[in-house]
């Protein structure tokens, strides 16, 4: 599987994503600067966590308008896989690759701790190696992770099986509507989630629950 990690000014999980991708796939991902207008030939594009453009205006708003995002949109339109983690999820909603918005955490605090979620959908390239309903624990580290969408959009996401990750009861760290932690695009090739799977692929770093996501991608896209 060939992959690329987009690097925005003030991305800070780009290296974590690159290390996880290299460890899992055996190939170094391309690191693509936000001013690039073209993407290398890759199967997966990762939008990493961080604070792109200092979260100016709104988290992900500036990055959503950057040159490289036009290329990412074209990649997604062709059916290419796009994974947005944390700030990457915010960029995906701001660039309308995913519906809804990520607002300030309901408790107003930056939340940095492991959270347990259920994998609610496995019919997609990102989570097919997990069991349906499997509980996984990934770390979260965000201040703006409160997923919001209108009722109609939420009902559509649920009805179409696009809520992939849902915080376990009592674990919702940010007030997200219906405990949503991660969602898919309509064509199921774009996934955005607030928790960090790339931080749990090595037992030395506290867990391996994130491996299934990369294994799913490798199995489908290699």
């Amino acid at each position: 599987m060939k992959s690329a990690v987009i690097v925005f000014p003030a991305s800070n999980c780009d290296r974590d994503a690159a290390v996880a991708l290299e460890q899992m796939t055996g190939r170094k991902p391309h690191m693509v600067w936000h001013q690039e207008c073209d993407l290398p030939d890759v199967d997966l594009v990762v939008l990493p966590g961080g604070f792109s453009y200092g979260d100016y205006l709104r988290s992900g708003a500036m990055a959503g308008q950057s040159a490289v995002m036009r290329a990412v949109k074209a990649h997604a339109k062709k059916g290419g896989a796009v994974l947005g983690i944390c700030n990457g999820f915010q960029v995906l909603t701001e660039s309308h690759l995913l519906p809804g918005a990520l607002m300030r955490n309901a408790g107003l605090k930056f939340v940095c701790r492991p959270v347990t979620m259920a994998v609610e959908e496995t019919q997609n390239v990102f989570t097919r190696k997990y069991l349906h309903g499997q509980q996984v624990t990934f770390p979260v580290a965000h201040g703006d992770g409160n997923y919001f969408a209108d009722e109609e959009t939420l009902n559509r996401l649920e009805g179409e099986g696009r809520v992939v990750f849902r915080y376990a009861p009592g674990q919702n760290p940010n007030g997200s509507s219906r405990d949503i932690a991660g969602i898919l695009s309509e064509k199921r090739n774009v996934l955005g989630l607030m928790p960090h799977p790339e931080r749990v692929v090595d037992p030395l770093l506290g867990g391996t629950d994130g491996r299934g996501l990369f294994e799913s991608l490798i199995e489908t896209l290699s």
């Binding site: 205006l57 708003a61 809804g100 918005a101 300030r104 107003l108 409160n146 969408a149 209108d150 007030g175």
Partner: protein, 80 residues
């Protein structure tokens, strides 16, 4: 031409920051303060002199960048 854009959360969208400000004001003894909603003000200078064209451009700016219309609404004020 100068413009001022007000970006505020839509009615019904939870505003935890506004709530916290309200609590703080109550704590300072301003007991008459009820609901508080927080927003943004953006001041812009435009080279456009035609008011209708300026307004149309500002609408476009709000839709594309200044506001996230999933959660926010905006108002535009033009000053000669």
């Amino acid at each position: 031409m100068k413009a001022r854009v007000f970006v505020t959360l839509k009615n019904g969208v939870l505003d935890p920051q506004g709530k916290a400000i309200g609590h703080a004001l109550n704590g300072l003894g301003f007991g008459a303060v009820g609901e508080v909603r927080q927003g943004k003000v953006i001041d812009l200078e435009l080279s456009e002199t035609n008011e209708a064209k300026a307004r149309a451009a500002l609408n476009d700016m709000c839709e594309k960048l200044l506001a996230n219309t999933v959660i926010e609404k905006y108002e535009i004020e033009l000053k000669a």
